[in-house]
């Protein structure tokens, strides 16, 4: 069974903290993604990576950074968490190509207080 695994289901962090969200996939996929899900706004792309050490900004990269040191692992970093970053974060992976299926993790519900 193919899997994308996010390290935490729920996180509560304080304003100003540095936050790490980890994602691991076991499908040898080239692409990995971080999305943010908010009601009424759908899934918004934060960052995308198509290879180790390669990254592209998505639609809402401000306040976030990413790291991909190994093919199977993609980390999202909130340099200084703010309350407006309270949200559901979803990691996904897919094969390289225009019409490939994206596989999602179960999500991390982050609350910044």
């Amino acid at each position: 069974d193919v899997k994308v695994t996010q390290s935490s289901r729920y996180l509560v962090k304080r304003t100003g903290e540095k936050v790490f969200l980890e994602c691991v996939q076991d499908m040898d996929h080239e692409n990995m993604f971080w999305y943010r899900q908010d009601p009424g706004l759908g899934l918004r792309l934060i960052y995308f990576s198509y290879d180790v050490k390669m990254k592209e900004k998505g639609d809402i990269p401000e306040g976030y950074s990413v790291s991909r040191e190994k093919k199977e692992r993609f980390s999202l970093i909130l340099e200084s968490a703010s309350t407006n970053q309270t949200s559901m974060y979803l990691c996904a992976s897919s094969l390289l190509g225009a019409r490939t299926e994206a596989f999602f993790g179960q999500g991390t519900r982050l609350t910044v207080v």
């Binding site: 994308v4 692409n31 993604f33 999305y35 009601p39 009424g40 706004l41 759908g42 899934l43 918004r44 792309l45 995308f48 198509y50 979803l90 996904a92 897919s94 094969l95 390289l96 190509g97 225009a98 019409r99 490939t100 299926e101 994206a102 596989f103 999602f104 993790g105 179960q106 999500g107």
Partner: protein, 113 residues
């Protein structure tokens, strides 16, 4: 031109009824239209997808209808069941051959027994 607009935001249907979710796009270069289904507490998963060389695709009770001239595509759920209660996202590929998707705003479907 990179937008996908989805409606309605929420939908309540009686068991056995037909659920219809609509999406509109602007970029005529889009050539692949997947729908993702997300159950509470889970990540989205691919439900069904269509390419614009066909006007309809059916998989069980789920049908995508595609209207190229109107730049619209719809998901129809026939004989809706309480187990279909979920959030549904339409999507389209972003420019380039990378596998990045742009998602609609999402529709939360509730099927009442």
């Amino acid at each position: 031109q990179q937008q996908v607009k989805q409606s309605p935001q929420s939908l309540i249907v009686q068991k056995g009824g037909i659920s219809i979710i609509n999406c509109a796009y602007e970029n005529t270069a889009f050539d692949y239209f997947p729908w993702y289904q997300q159950f509470p507490g889970k990540g989205p998963a691919l439900l069904i997808a269509i390419r614009p060389d066909v006007s309809e695709k059916k998989e069980g009770r789920f049908t995508i209808s595609f209207n190229k001239s109107a730049k619209q595509f719809s998901l129809h759920i026939m004989d809706s069941q309480p187990g279909d209660s979920a959030t549904y996202f339409c999507a389209a590929p972003r420019s380039g051959n990378t596998g990045k998707l742009i998602f609609g705003q999402g529709t939360t479907l509730q099927v009442k027994p």
